[in-house]
């Protein structure tokens, strides 16, 4: 429904606003304006959109595609090509286990299986209570302190299965 309103307005050549009145759409639009709505800024704009909304849903992708005058299929194609973008809501906390080579040879796989067993989810999934998302990375460049785990954006060095479970338990218990 939100989208329909937006498109009718577009056809009326009026300034498009997202029907929901959600302020974040306004912020996103100002950001797009900074890039002069250039089509080659699509990836920067999707970064910003994900930063604002947490994930990219259809409504948001459509908004971006109309604003940049790109076919929706193209926006969707780009959003799904890059691993950094997520089309599903993420959990309250995110735990990223680096599976780069240095971390791998130092036992990141064991850290990973310990978390998978504890949370009963697989890499790329979110716990049913939407509390924790478990993700993997292909090297975050912290090889000197391998294995590295990123808790809510903060890199933590020299991870062990025991240490990781301690942090995870703090999340599950709070």
């Amino acid at each position: 429904m939100k989208i329909a309103t937006m498109r009718n307005e577009a056809e009326g050549r009026r300034v498009m606003q997202h029907a929901s009145g959600d302020k974040r759409f306004k912020i996103l639009e100002v950001f797009m304006k900074k890039y002069q709505f250039r089509q080659d800024s699509l990836i920067e704009i999707l970064h910003k959109a994900q930063e604002l909304f947490g994930y990219l849903d259809d409504d948001l992708l459509l908004f971006v595609s109309y604003k940049l005058k790109l076919p929706p299929s193209r926006v969707y194609g780009v959003a799904t090509f890059y691993h950094f973008f997520t089309l599903k809501p993420q959990g309250k906390h995110t735990c990223v286990v680096c599976l780069g080579t240095a971390c791998y040879v130092k036992g990141a796989d064991k850290v990973m299986s310990a978390i998978e067993a504890e949370l009963k989810i697989k890499a790329g999934e979110t716990t049913p209570d939407k509390n924790i998302s478990l993700l993997t990375a292909r090297c975050i460049g912290a090889c000197g302190i391998a294995p590295a785990v990123v808790y809510d954006g903060t890199v933590s060095p020299r991870a062990t299965p025991e240490g990781v479970l301690k942090t995870i338990k703090q999340w599950t218990e709070s």
Partner: protein, 240 residues
Amino acid sequence: MAAKTLTINGRQISAAEGSTVLKAAEEAGVEIPSLCHLDGVYDVGACRLCLVEVKGASRLLPACTTVISEGMEVQTGTERLIKYRRMTLELLFAERNHVCSVCVADGHCELQTLAYSLGMDHVRFDYLFPKWDVDNTHSLFGMDHNRCILCTRCVRVCWHIEGAGTKNVSGRGGQSKIITDLNAAWGKSDSCTSCGKCVQSCPTGALFYKGSTVGEMVRDRSKLEFIVNAREKKLWVYQD
């Protein structure tokens, strides 16, 4: 336009400057197999079936995107090339569910024809048997992702000729998939003009007219050719 002379499989031929090896070979009556090339749309060099050996080049080159040069020596059908082509087809057959006997394009399929002509009679790799869906929501056409080889011809005709941009590729690697709009049901697409060019362009039975049954999906490329010629060679002159 200046002509260039080159040899293909030892035979000396000449072709217009700027043409591709594929085009030059075709004009000389030498067939080079391809699944992603389609006359009228830009080439992407993705299927790797048209790879040829060029003397002096360190790698095999795709005939569809390699421009001819004076004195070029091209080999199009060496033992090595045929072996690679056969393996490429094996990989395609193993990747999705290509079961010719129940396919709408049986007998009219470019993948099948190539497999026959290259003598690929069995697949040595594990069949992956993926479970892709069939989109039958459009009133005229259907798409069976199980038969898609991701040649992106449909994406290119939709963008380059029709200008709608309805189709694109989502995901990446083996998870790549042809989508309509935001991965929506084809029948719900706002941008699709139902022109049917994608259906005409498809080399396999992935895109088909609804209602066609086994072996009935015959394609007519003359319409595509007609539009492209008319547009690019300016054959349509407005007369009042």
